[in-house]
Symmetry: C2
Subunit: 113 residues, 2 copies
């Protein structure tokens, strides 16, 4: 993952409403959720929600598909996951023990030695 990509994802999630939206979609799972139900669930105005969903989409954190007049948004777990890898990359000069549980060793692409 490129740095700018990571910054984009972090910025997208670094906002109350968007973090709520994303977590709601993470809970919703791969079937996703129509915008209307998200707005309802989080008490957001429809245009505000579109604004935030656009940012999540620009950061590749969600995808959309149309179903009738509903727009159904789905969380992209891969994006979240590459972010996590990026953050824990190059942790502790390769010295395990300082690294938190689940970091580097376990998560990264077989770079374990």
């Amino acid at each position: 993952m490129k740095k700018q990509n990571a910054v984009a994802i972090l910025a997208a999630l670094a906002q109350d409403n968007r973090l709520d939206v994303f977590r709601l979609l993470v809970e919703a799972g791969p079937e996703g959720m129509p915008a209307g139900r998200i707005a309802n669930s989080l008490k957001l105005q429809p245009n505000a929600l579109t604004f935030h969903l656009d940012q999540l989409r620009d950061a590749s954190l969600v995808t959309v598909r149309r179903d009738g007049r509903s727009m159904i948004y789905t969380a992209r777990y891969e994006a979240m996951n590459s972010l996590i890898s990026y953050l824990t990359d190059n942790c502790c000069q390769g010295q395990p023990g300082y690294c938190p549980p689940g970091t580097a060793k376990g998560r990264k692409s077989e770079k374990v030695s």
Copy 2:
């Protein structure tokens, strides 16, 4: 972790210079790094660096100690880790398989069933 806490951490990391600083400190490991060396390494003006380090500190992502006239900053892995847990919490309605590798099951506090 409370939501506001997560937003603070995300916001702190959602900026080019700060993400660089944090990752540099993550690489530096538990011994930390003096501000001067960080500034040098990343070509940042000292006051700008202080500004960014303050934000990382407010988000509890780094700690400081003084050594002579140097201020030594150290990354707090725990903070990063609780963020990761927070993000992957309640993933996919408990249905494994959709969750990305290393998520929930592995990471969370034995909530695997």
